[in-house]
């Protein structure tokens, strides 16, 4: 399925769903939820937050489907909405809340669902390094490397210029390289608070 074809189909689907057609909503959800969830988890480093943000994203996006004009695929449009929610979430979440989350994370009985049920970032050096990046750097990196987006789209999603998006991306790469190579303690002890800066 060519990109062009995908967009046309996406646009038709979005038009159908604008009128509140529930099957169309559901089709959009089915088509996109896996990738969006994966992206939001990477971006937030927190499954619970990703789930909440995902709910928020769909609610906002499905209500505003009329603003989707087929510039990119529906998925990339949804991802941009989701990213905005993520950035907003980061901005709002004070250190206090993050501390509480860490507290909750550390004190949740793991036995209930096994390790995979809890926070995936723990013990994962890569995700921990990812968490240390600033939100925008992380977003630029993910959009580029995970989602193969062109810089023009990354810039649009981040709400900045293309050159700025490139800078975010390159800084992110540089940081990740440094952290992963050095393997310094902060990266691997799963302490996400370095991301606050």
């Amino acid at each position: 399925m060519s990109e062009e074809h995908g967009r046309k189909e996406d646009l038709e689907l979005a038009r159908a769903a604008t009128g509140g057609d529930e099957t169309a909503w559901r089709r959009i959800y089915d088509q996109t939820n896996r990738q969006l969830y994966n992206f939001l988890c990477y971006q937030t480093g927190d499954r619970d937050a990703a789930r909440d943000l995902m709910q928020d994203t769909y609610v906002t996006a499905l209500r505003r489907l009329d603003t989707y004009r087929g510039q990119g695929t529906l998925l990339s449009w949804l991802r941009a909405v989701g990213l905005r929610k993520c950035l907003d979430w980061r901005r709002r979440a004070s250190l206090r809340i993050r501390k509480l989350a860490t507290f909750a994370r550390e004190n949740t009985p793991l036995a209930a669902g096994g390790a995979e049920e809890t926070f995936p970032g723990l013990g994962d050096g890569f995700q921990a390094a990812l968490d240390r990046l600033s939100s925008r750097q992380r977003a630029a990196l993910l959009l580029r490397e995970l989602e193969d987006q062109p810089f023009a789209e990354i810039a649009a999603a981040l709400g900045c210029g293309e050159a700025t998006a490139r800078v975010h991306y390159h800084r992110a790469c540089r940081n990740m390289r440094t952290w992963l190579e050095n393997g310094d303690d902060l990266v691997f002890n799963g302490n996400a608070e370095g991301a606050a800066s």
């Binding site: 529930e22 939820n33 499905l62 206090r96 509480l100 004190n107």
Partner: protein
């Protein structure tokens, strides 16, 4: 890098995917209509209780039908029923709602969808950042309907298993907590519903909740502190209206809005801070903070309106200016006030018992009674579960009869606001006198939870219809804990009246003693303002506040559009932040940099004001008038310190409001920085109680704000 990033690293389980979709759909379904009256069923706490029981029962039923024996004996009310049948137990309402208990009744499982609303609230987050603006109207509380299919599809093991599938609920060490947020935004209804093994079935749910709340460890993830006075800080209704964006003058040179003379948001915030809580962001309306202050315009008695303008450098950002547009309504001595036919509509529902709200109402009415004079008449309608006429309109000369009726107010039942209003309007219509002021005064905590219609549309259309007939309504809000700000504001707005919120004795005096004429006698209705900026001179502009008073530019001269009302002596201020253009767009000979702006009168923009004469102004009723005033470039010369006290106080109030509102534009400002500015103002104007309050409130808020959060800024 790529080898680390996988498309399927994080996955939702099938069950989670379904439940997430269910949550999304539930939120989308009632979309499109702001939830003005969240259906507060008669006993919110009880509803939860019922839900918990229902959930437990479902759990039992499911477990039972799977032939496991986890529950054991000891639930005689539930076991022994056939599957598909749940007993809704009658419990005494744990909150002082005064509601009558539900009779025992049997509910088919299929009916649970509508009746069992697990009122699990979550904070609704909205994006207010940056250019991609998506302003949505939402309420702070959502309800969750439990569908029987959901339970059939997703088997549950226990009550907390079911509850913990809700977003916003955290299962920690076997206890459930509602996750984080600011004060008041977090419903604590489910907080600490004790965890497994589900004991909620046998214990009174209210008690379970209370115990668990007390036992909650310090620093638990409930996100709230223990509410003051042991009040449950739940069910406060505010509306999220977003924050106005900056607009490029080239794209849109017109700013149009309906005036708002109220200042209830200011007193609501003051009440929060008095109780040691930060007000929720949605409770803040910037324009109402600004209008709480004396703008310093001279009074006049001739024209209906005068437009005042001034400007100074902005405190928000360098290179920006704060433009102040003031509308002053003409003043009249109290002796010129027209005689009034007043109908008091008093909420005497159970909730009015809390914190002695009804006592405050009685006091307020007595105060008002003292201010009334010859020719005025007063009627009294009350509503609890039903509406009732307590006093036919009675002439003020029989003061003691009225006073006795006021003293006789006692609370009962739930809140049937529609019936109360219908009766009151009927009474007002019967005694309608065109030459007089015909006004309803509604005193309530704004909780509409009973009666044929708790839907917004029906009540609002009644109010709107009546105001077109010349019977207007003012709303006066009391109480905290389950206050409905949205309803009270909308009623006054649609009903061409004012909206006040009374938090202290002084506020009562201010409303009823100092402002009575202004409150009762409208000098103009449907007041709209349009400011036109010259795109060559003004690059960008942003209106501070008035988010929910927006009028489409093209509707400025459409007199059918509902707008604001202004009473005698009322003043309205609108603040704009503007960015002036630098060269070369500026005409020759004028420098926009520095203070050297004395020059020819360069027009930067125009302020237009359109209004309609009110119904009791029999000579001119319905006539529309439009006035305008020019904005000059020379007005923008001064720096902030050179502005008048009135301007600086209003600017600080606006900044304070924007910080509390978590406005994107105020993210560089901090409360700590505002403290000295406000203290300076208070020292300059020792006699102004509002400025004194402002300084105290900013200090309080700065103390309350998380120090870490401040540091981050």
């Amino acid at each position: 890098m790529k080898r680390f990033l996988k498309h399927d690293k994080y996955e939702l389980g099938d069950r989670d995917r379904e439940s997430l979709w269910h949550d999304i759909r539930r939120e989308l379904k009632p979309a499109g209509r702001p939830s003005l009256f969240r259906t507060v069923r008669p006993w919110p706490a009880l509803t939860t209780a019922v839900t918990v029981v229902a959930l437990a029962a479902l759990g039992v039923w499911w477990i039972d039908s799977n032939r496991t024996d986890m529950m054991g004996a000891g639930h005689p009310g539930l076991l022994g029923k056939r599957p598909g049948e749940v007993v809704r137990q009658a419990e005494p309402a744990p909150l002082k709602y005064g509601g009558k208990p539900l009779a025992d009744e049997v509910v088919e499982i299929d009916q649970i969808e509508e009746s069992a609303s697990a009122a699990i609230s979550r904070e609704e987050k909205e994006s207010t950042e940056g250019a991609e603006y998506m302003v949505e109207v939402k309420s702070a509380v959502t309800e969750h309907s439990v569908r029987s299919e959901t339970f059939e599809k997703h088997a549950i093991d226990s009550v907390d298993d079911a509850l913990s599938k809700k977003a916003g609920v955290v299962n920690r060490a076997g206890e459930l907590y509602v996750r984080g947020g600011r004060s008041g935004e977090v419903s604590m209804q489910t907080t600490g519903v004790a965890g497994s093994p589900s004991p909620t079935v046998t214990e009174a749910p209210g008690k379970a909740r209370q115990n668990a709340a007390e036992d909650a460890p310090p620093g638990s993830v409930t996100g709230g502190t223990k509410p003051p006075n042991d009040e449950q800080v739940e069910l406060m209704y505010f509306e999220h209206v977003g924050v106005n964006p900056f607009v490029a003058t080239e794209d849109d040179s017109l700013s149009t809005f309906a005036v708002d003379v109220d200042n209830a948001s200011w007193t609501v915030a003051r009440n929060y801070l008095d109780r040691g809580l930060l007000p929720p962001a949605d409770a803040i309306r910037v324009e109402e903070f600004v209008n709480a202050f004396d703008p310093g315009w001279a009074e006049h008695t001739d024209d209906v309106f005068r437009i005042h303008t001034d400007a100074a450098a902005s405190r928000f950002a360098e290179g920006y200016h704060l433009l102040r547009i003031g509308l002053a309504g003409k003043s009249l001595g109290d002796e010129h006030r027209k005689a009034a036919n007043l109908i008091f509509v008093i909420d005497i529902s159970g909730s009015m018992n809390r914190e002695n709200r009804l006592g405050a109402v009685r006091k307020s009415l007595h105060l008002l009674l003292d201010e009334l004079g010859e020719g005025d008449r007063v009627g009294l309608v009350v509503y609890g579960s039903r509406g009732e006429i307590r006093l036919e309109p009675t002439d003020i000369s029989r003061r003691e009869v009225i006073a006795r009726a006021i003293d006789g107010l006692a609370s009962n039942g739930s809140t049937n606001v529609y019936e109360g209003l219908e009766l009151a309007y009927g009474l007002a219509r019967k005694h309608y006198e065109p030459a007089k002021i015909n006004r309803l005064i509604l005193c309530s905590d704004g909780v509409a939870n009973n009666g044929a219609s708790t839907e917004a549309e029906k009540i609002l259309s009644l109010v709107r219809r009546s105001s077109d007939e010349g019977i207007t309504i003012s709303t006066i809000g009391f109480g905290m804990g389950n206050y409905n700000d949205v309803l009270m504001e909308k009623l006054a707005n649609k009903g061409d009246g004012n909206y006040y919120y009374v938090d202290r004795q002084e506020e009562t005096e201010r409303v009823f003693r100092e402002n009575l004429t202004g409150m009762l006698q409208t000098i103009a209705r449907e007041v709209k303002v349009q400011v036109e900026f010259d795109p060559r001179l003004v690059k960008r502009w942003r209106l501070l506040g008035y988010e929910n008073r927006d009028v489409a530019d093209r509707d400025f001269r459409n007199d059918a559009v509902d707008a604001g009302e202004v009473g005698v002596g009322h003043r309205v201020t609108a603040l704009y932040e503007v960015k002036l253009a630098r060269t070369p767009a500026v005409p020759e000979g004028i420098s926009t940099v520095g203070a050297d702006w004395e020059g020819p009168a360069v027009r930067v923009g125009t302020v237009r004001l359109r209004h309609e004469a009110p119904a009791h102004d029999t000579a001119r009723a319905g006539q529309v008038e439009e006035i305008e005033q020019t904005l000059l470039l020379s007005q923008f010369a001064g720096d902030f310190a050179s502005g008048t006290v009135g301007m600086r106080a209003q600017a600080v109030a606006a900044e304070f409001a924007e910080i509390l509102k978590e406005s994107f534009w105020a993210k560089e400002s901090s409360l700590a920085d505002l403290v000295p500015v406000a203290d300076g103002l208070a020292a300059e104007m020792p006699g102004d109680p509002t400025i004194r309050d402002l300084a105290a409130m900013i200090r309080q808020a700065a103390d309350l704000q998380d120090p870490v959060q401040q540091q981050e800024k």
